[in-house]
């Protein structure tokens, strides 16, 4: 079975080539967790939970001492 195609570019030489991956490159691709999964939509159940809202009053850290 043929391996996926990769494009490689070397910033020093400026050479770009497109070729079949080496076995090492293909193993690394698989190890990276590469998937053909389609990014799905998110739902409200994925909401970032916030403690309070930006409009909530900032709670006091403590009450001021009464003048004696």
């Amino acid at each position: 079975m043929s391996r996926p195609i990769t494009t490689t570019h070397d910033a020093i030489t400026g050479i770009t080539e497109t070729r079949e991956m080496t076995e090492e490159e293909y193993t690394a691709l698989l190890d990276s967790g590469w998937t053909e999964e389609t990014p799905g939509e998110r739902s409200a159940s994925d909401n970032v939970e916030e403690e309070g809202s930006p409009n909530d009053p900032i709670p006091d850290s403590g009450s001021a001492p009464s003048p004696s």
């Binding site: 497109t18 590469w34 999964e37």
Partner: protein
Amino acid sequence: MAVKTFTQAEKLTAADTNTYLANGGLVYITSATATSGTTLAIANCFSSTYENYRIIVSDLRLSGAAFVDFYFTGTTTNYAFGRVEVPYNTATALGRGGSGTGLGGAWNFLVGSTTSNGGAMDLFGPNLARQTSFIAIAADPRTGGSFGTEFGGGIQTDSTQFTGFTLSAGATITNLNCTVYGYRKA
């Protein structure tokens, strides 16, 4: 010395031009385009010349909707990331996901599809012998549903001095432009 103040009628030499004028704050390093296949790997783009880098992906088009991941070439362990999405159709941020409770094999950079989009990543210290981190922003190219703009960031916990990276797509690449810039040091 990073800056020189020139005086009226001062002669502008080639040396001064190259030192003070030719290199702005963000310095072009290299760029490459993939028009087929699964990955684009750029080698020898990180060095001791810069500490921090900016990576721009533009006109990303794939055969179908898929993630585009980032990993330092040859290293596929000890990555962690998290992303938040703000959908185009609401103002409510949605937790998009991340690497979970454990360290994974790559960072998720952006989503590609058949229509064009792009993204930007700031990379902190990839060529230093310490943990590397990143922040990224990208727009999902799809409309409808809850697709929107995504903000993310993460770390790679090794102390490896990386010199290059690979972008991998979960669908066949139709086009992927990638440009690497370095943030000039003083």
